[in-house]
């Protein structure tokens, strides 16, 4: 059965209530008549033999010689891979990175390459735990490399392992992981979950230092990325491309392997989350009722553990390898093929139900800043052309927004929330006054380098991710959130969707148009 494309549904009186994610719970809301709901395309069929497809891609790359011919004994080979923030939710074993890296290593073993190092390209994200590395790479790769110390995680604060490659013509400094930049061949294994990933961003961001990243991770770049999923309109993309070209010109040889996955996001027992509500059968409805009732009685910590143990049945849909730009053009087309939905016109109000997971709280707590980032950073920007909401419109997000932070993973977020946001919520003000002291705070550097903490400056990036939305919108309302936390971020709390619409009417009038983004599974709106 061919998967159906995305759908924009006009709500009428016979439309059943819509499922909204609400953190670690779900609710069913009735949307007003005349609203639109954007449903994601169904997952594309998986490749029948992913291993063979990967092998084919490695032997027939785009604009490069086949991989075995690039490998020779005595060379320095570095294999870099995307970190734990992809894919979301984490996929069932075997992970795509495991399949690709095992093939690459088999070729390297055949060629007799001695000097191989694996680097997790985390940029300023947190280090991965052993369990997470084993999941991503598989036991065989982990046991062959970790005991010898050949499996490393990029340390952006290690002055001895950073190499300054130069400055682009726009004054952007390029500073990368030294081992990766001085290798004879750098193989990058990427998972392209959303259109923003991949391409030159893999190396230019994933292996960079703070000095490099601040040139595009700042409010100005983010406001001018409309959206950052749409490469031609994204200043983030242009900056990374300039840096990527400088990296290529300075002699770093990159063999990029990009993969796309289908949006088969939930295991079969949670299939109802993937299906359209009017197509729910008896089993789906029973599962929904049982799950919702059970979750109401479950303490938040247990519910969080349950949800974070979900493994998605994502399957490989395409794999391409070779020169960065050629590969990425193909990958982007594949991502749009899976996720693209055509939408006519903008709307006054955009509603979204936020799930329990964002790229930055895998196996962790979703604190209020990450809620804002997921809603206003990612979901708001899932468009090409024009934003889904009109300028001055309203976004309504559904999430409990608990005032809770993981002290091990997000220590700098606590200080950011208490100290910075209580002073101002303007991204430009924040970057001028506070960013430097957080980025250089020795304690955060210590936790980033030796613990499992995000870098001290990371909460700022989360806030800058919302810059375009904050600049564009008239108001942001959070339904069901902790009122103090919501107000601290400058948003308006509401206890129900109806109340939220009432609050919104101050901004958009009494009869606004409303669109609901029914995601996850992921989608990209092509707004005409």
């Amino acid at each position: 059965m061919t998967p159906r494309p995305g759908l924009v549904l006009e709500v009428d009186r016979s439309t059943p209530p819509t499922l909204f994610w609400h953190g670690e719970r779900f609710v069913l809301e009735r949307l007003p008549e005349g609203s639109r709901i954007i449903y994601a395309p169904e997952p594309l069929a998986a490749l029948e033999d992913p291993v063979a497809a990967i092998r084919h891609a490695l032997l027939h790359p785009l604009d490069r010689d086949p991989l075995p011919s690039l490998l020779s004994p005595g060379m320095r080979l570095t294999i870099c891979f995307d970190d734990v923030s992809l894919p979301l939710p984490p996929m069932q074993a075997p992970d795509v990175r495991q399949l690709v890296i095992e093939q690459v290593l088999d070729m390297a073993a055949e060629a007799g390459v001695d000097d191989v190092v694996l680097v997790a390209a985390l940029a300023l994200h947190r280090r991965m735990t052993e369990a997470e590395l084993r999941h991503a790479l598989g036991d065989r790769v982990y046991d062959a490399f970790a005991p010898h110390g050949l499996l490393t995680q990029h340390d952006a604060e290690d002055p001895g392992n950073l190499l300054h490659l130069g400055t682009t013509d726009k004054g952007e400094e390029v500073e990368l992981n030294k081992r990766a930049a001085t290798s004879d061949l750098l193989v990058y294994v990427n998972i392209n979950l959303v259109a923003m990933d991949g391409g030159h961003k893999s190396v230019a961001t994933g292996l960079a230092s703070y000095r490099s990243l601040r040139h595009h991770h700042n409010p100005k770049t983010m406001v001018h990325s409309r959206s950052f999923m749409d490469a031609p309109a994204s200043e983030l993309h242009s900056s990374n491309w300039r840096m990527g070209r400088l990296i290529a010109d300075s002699g770093v040889k990159i063999f990029q392997i990009e993969t796309t996955l289908n949006t088969d996001t939930f295991p079969s027992q949670f299939g109802f989350l993937q299906r359209r509500e009017w197509e729910w059968n008896l089993r789906d409805r029973a599962t929904y009722v049982a799950t919702a009732a059970a979750l109401d009685r479950t303490p938040p910590r247990i519910a969080r553990q349950i949800f974070h143990s979900i493994r998605a049945p994502h399957a490989l849909v395409s794999v391409q390898a070779g020169e960065v730009e050629a590969v990425h053009a193909l990958t982007t087309a594949n991502v749009w093929k899976q996720q693209g939905v055509e939408v006519e016109g903008q709307t006054d109000i955009l509603t979204m139900g936020l799930p329990y997971i964002s790229p930055y709280n895998v196996n962790s707590i979703m604190n209020p800043i990450l809620v804002a980032c997921l809603g206003l950073g990612y979901f708001f920007n899932l468009y090409r052309g024009k934003p889904l909401v009109r300028k001055g419109g309203v976004v309504i997000m559904h999430h409990p927004t608990p005032w809770e932070f993981h002290p091990g993973h997000h220590p700098s977020y606590i200080d950011f929330f208490e100290e910075v946001l209580s002073d101002t919520t303007d991204p430009v003000e924040i970057s001028k006054t506070y960013e430097e002291s957080f980025a250089t705070d020795p304690w955060y550097v210590h936790l980033y380098r030796t613990g499992h903490a995000y870098h001290g400056v990371h909460p700022f990036y989360m806030w800058y991710w919302c810059a375009h939305a904050l600049d564009h919108l008239g108001r942001v309302i959070v339904v069901g959130g902790d009122p103090a936390a919501v107000r601290r971020m400058g948003f308006s709390p509401a206890t129900s969707l109806d109340d939220a619409l009432e609050i919104a009417s101050d901004v958009v009038g009494r009869s606004p148009s409303l669109t609901h983004l029914h995601t996850p599974p992921l989608l990209l709106a092509d707004v005409r």
Binding site: F405, P407, P411, I414, D415, E418, E419, D441, P442, W443, H446
Partner: protein, 421 residues
């Protein structure tokens, strides 16, 4: 005339101690404090005058005494039965308003020559508080011979204990002078440095007075100016007041360590305890004032102060169990700050603490911290309110003796601002 009298009565003592486990101040109804008819106290000698109280504050040490929680250390420097109340603004027979400096030093006790401390004007350090021609008693309000502020009968005070209240100063402002003087003494004694980080844990009357004193005295250049003044306050109204009075940031107590870490740029040496965001610091604040006095608060102060820094206990502690290993390893100075006397300021200037306190009260209008007043007939409610002040959104609770005075003497008292809620 009526007065609240505290008698030595062991069963009632025990009963009030038990009752106080349900909340500070609950023991007032069954404790050793009772409303009695007493005569005004006799004048002990020349130089003494009678003072009729107008407003008398309820202090944390009073509450501890009423709860039976105060240390047994005080047994020998207190004489029963006594009338409590040492935060007093009253009037003399001439009608002039005065504030009482309750410490009973050598001069008040008629000891000549005075002890070395009293000779230097450091009344709080007097070495003769159980001697002289008065019964033992560290302050008026703990002495059987002087009477105390919680009475209509009044008290007697030596002329050295009285400070004239300027006209511009309301009764509420004046009743705050004594607690502000305690805070002022703690601040002046703390060897602050310019641009140092100062943390204050606890924002009841003492904590807020500390913030006010720090700001007022540093802006007039008499003490060093702290770089950051961070206050740990449990209740939202306390945090608001702290920020109003000039704190750099007022946060919940469990967030205070984290904020101090950021300001002082230090690292953390151990995992945070459950519920806290940060563990003990490797560096920390230069001076930490503890205005709570519990085992937990002292432990937290030791966590947040830098090596060779200073922790000042301003609030009266009892018997607490504290792990002193951090104190030893990091060479921390743990100091007590009690009462007042004469301060030596930056330029070598010597000023009496009460004079500085009057300035601080006037600069910030601290009379607004008097949240509620009660007549002494309703002393159970008053003490309960004072015991639950933080939870009930109050700061200072005081006894208002003016109305009853008016009725009795038939003469109108000075109009003042504020009044019963």
């Amino acid at each position: 005339m009526k007065a609240l009298v505290f008698e030595r009565n062991l069963p009632r003592f025990a009963a009030s101690r038990l009752a106080s486990t349900f909340g500070s101040g609950r023991g007032a109804a069954i404790g050793p404090l009772r409303l009695a008819e007493t005569d005004p106290p006799a004048l002990p000698g020349p130089g003494w005058t009678r003072v009729i109280p107008r407003l008398s504050g309820i202090c944390g040490s009073d509450l501890a005494t009423l709860d039976g929680r105060s240390s047994r250390y005080f047994e020998h420097i207190v004489s029963f039965p006594f009338v409590p109340g040492h935060e007093v603004v009253g009037e003399l027979e001439s009608g002039e308003r005065v504030v009482l400096e309750p410490v009973l030093g050598c001069v008040a006790r008629g000891i000549d020559p005075p002890c070395p401390a009293c000779g230097r004007g450091m009344l709080g350090d007097c070495e003769r508080i159980a001697f002289g021609h008065l019964a033992p008693g560290l302050q008026t309000g703990y002495c059987a011979d002087t009477g105390g502020g919680w009475s209509h009968a009044g008290l007697v005070a030596h002329e050295s204990q009285l400070h004239a209240v300027p006209d511009a100063c309301s009764d509420e402002d004046a009743v705050m002078v004594e607690p502000v003087a305690c805070a002022t003494h703690a601040v002046c004694d703390a060897n602050l440095e310019d641009t140092g980080t100062v943390a204050v844990l606890g924002a009841g009357t003492l904590g807020l007075s500390l913030v006010a004193a720090l700001r007022a005295l540093s802006s007039s250049g008499r003490i060093a100016t702290p770089g950051a003044l961070l206050v740990g306050a449990r209740y939202p109204h306390q945090r608001r007041l702290a920020t109003d009075l000039g704190a750099t940031a007022a946060l919940a107590p469990d967030q205070l360590t984290r904020a101090v870490r950021r300001r002082s740029g230090s690292l953390s040496v151990a995992d945070p305890r459950p519920g806290r965001a940060t563990g003990p610091l490797s560096g920390g604040a230069d001076v930490v004032f503890d205005c709570v006095g519990s085992a937990g608060s002292i432990a937290q102060c030791l966590e947040m102060v830098r090596p060779r820094g200073r922790v000042v206990l301003v609030g009266m502690p009892g018997r607490v169990q504290v792990d002193l290993a951090p104190l030893w390893q990091r060479e921390i100075r743990l100091a007590g700050a009690y009462a007042y006397g004469t301060e030596t300021l930056r330029a070598g200037e010597r000023v009496r603490t009460f004079d500085l306190a009057f300035e601080v009260v006037a600069a910030h209008g601290l009379g607004r911290l008097v949240s509620a007043t009660y007549p002494i007939d309703r002393f159970e409610e008053a003490v309960q309110h004072a015991g639950a002040a933080g939870r009930r959104g109050a700061v200072k609770v005081a006894f208002d003796l003016r109305r009853a005075n008016e009725r009795r003497t038939g003469r109108a008292s000075r109009p003042t601002t504020g009044g019963t809620p």
